[in-house]
């Protein structure tokens, strides 16, 4: 999807009735997806003093990231997304929201980001956008900073796409691949240190979680690539466990904790 198309869809035509929660139904809930799928993958890098979230939408992951940072910067191409986050996290004065052009991070101070995060958003972005964000990250990451980006790997299936043999592409950007991401990191003097290439609602491994850092940081290592065709099976297990352990099982307790956290935020 091109930048203008992304802006048009997420700012105008998409109806955000469930704040993006709907995309977590496969995991049972966003909470189950966060604690069962995402947090285990990023737990070594958080909490972090300054976290940058790119393309937060209406705050599906911001809700969790805000408790893991002293300062949380959120940047989205869609003004309605930043506005929705402002309303949703009204009392959280340590969150700063910015609308950008979908490619650049001028509002983020150089060398300031201890952890950069983006999940379930940049999968729709084409390779030029990822290339630009990797270039930006080479300036914005703190000396020991780490990034975790979820992006498309659909480009690996160019032939199947052309022949109509894909089981599903889920709006993934056809120009982007895991290999390109690692290449961009090398091009901009970053180290891509881990890539989990996964299926997402399809048989093909259309998605990728890429972890990157500055060359020479304490996280630096040769890139470990893992092709995980069992990603949807993991989601199914989490969905089956979700009713036992997630907020929906204890709505009053969940609301109590949310309220307490909000009171803490406003001081």
């Amino acid at each position: 999807m091109q930048i203008q198309e992304n802006l048009s869809v997420w700012d105008k035509s998409y109806v955000w009735t469930q704040a993006g929660e709907e995309w977590s139904a496969t995991w049972g809930s966003a909470e189950a997806q966060w604690f069962g799928c995402l947090y285990p993958r990023i737990h070594n890098f958080v909490p972090a003093p300054t976290i940058l979230e790119i393309a937060p939408g209406h705050g599906r992951w911001t809700k969790y990231l805000k408790d893991l940072a002293s300062q949380l910067l959120i940047v989205d191409i869609a003004p309605n997304c930043i506005e929705a986050c402002r309303e949703r996290f009204l009392g959280s004065s340590h969150i700063s929201g910015f609308v950008n052009d979908g490619m650049h991070l001028d509002m983020v101070p150089d060398g300031s980001v201890d952890f950069a995060f983006s999940v379930d958003s940049l999968v729709h972005a084409e390779s030029d956008v990822l290339e630009s964000y990797v270039a930006e990250m080479s300036r914005k990451l703190a000396p020991e900073g780490v990034g975790f980006f979820h992006h498309s790997n659909l480009g690996e299936y160019a032939q199947q796409l052309d022949s109509g043999k894909m089981t599903g592409s889920h709006g993934r950007a056809p120009s982007m691949t895991a290999e390109k991401f690692a290449m961009y990191c090398a091009q901009f003097n970053l180290a891509c240190i881990g890539q989990e290439i996964v299926n997402w609602g399809s048989e093909e491994l259309t998605d990728c979680f890429s972890v990157f850092t500055r060359k020479g940081s304490r996280w630096d290592r040769p890139n470990l690539i893992h092709r995980n065709g069992g990603f949807m099976a993991e989601a199914a297990v989490l969905r089956s466990l979700s009713p036992l352990y997630c907020d929906a099982a204890w709505p009053e307790e969940a609301a109590r904790r949310t309220l307490l956290s909000a009171l803490d935020s406003v001081g």
Binding site: E253, A255, L259, L260, A262, V266
Partner: protein
């Protein structure tokens, strides 16, 4: 002086009298006066005061109903929203209270905030 001004003055007078009665520990008498005024003129503030009188009398059901009526008349009435949240939190109805209080969290006074924290952490 217009008729409207006259009603406005009487509302103020009834509210002041009700506040005095509540302070004197006579919430039932305050409620009677507020109800009489409400038969003449419906305002969110009168319903809010009636709800407070009911709350002090220990009638949480009547109190909740009156605060909700205040919010029907004026959805942005901060005091009624904060008070209704307290009534709900007192009954550990956190899920109902959350959306009502959230827009007003940043405007809570330190006393309100401390009282709310007390209800949430007990």
């Amino acid at each position: 002086m217009s008729i409207t001004d006259n009603v406005g003055q009487r509302i103020c007078h009834v509210q002041e009298e009700a506040a005095r009665l509540i302070q004197e520990g006579r919430p039932a008498e305050a409620a009677t006066k507020l109800l009489a005024m409400l038969t003449e003129c419906q305002t969110a503030d009168l319903w809010n005061d009636l709800a407070t009188a009911a709350y002090i009398s220990g009638d949480l059901v009547a109190s909740e109903r009156a605060y909700r009526q205040a919010l029907i008349l004026d959805t942005s009435n901060r005091q009624a929203a904060v008070n209704l949240s307290f009534v709900l939190l007192k009954q550990s109805r956190f899920a109902e209270s959350l959306p009502i209080i959230t827009p007003h969290l940043v405007s809570l006074t330190s006393d309100e905030s401390a009282a709310m924290r007390g209800l949430v952490t007990r």
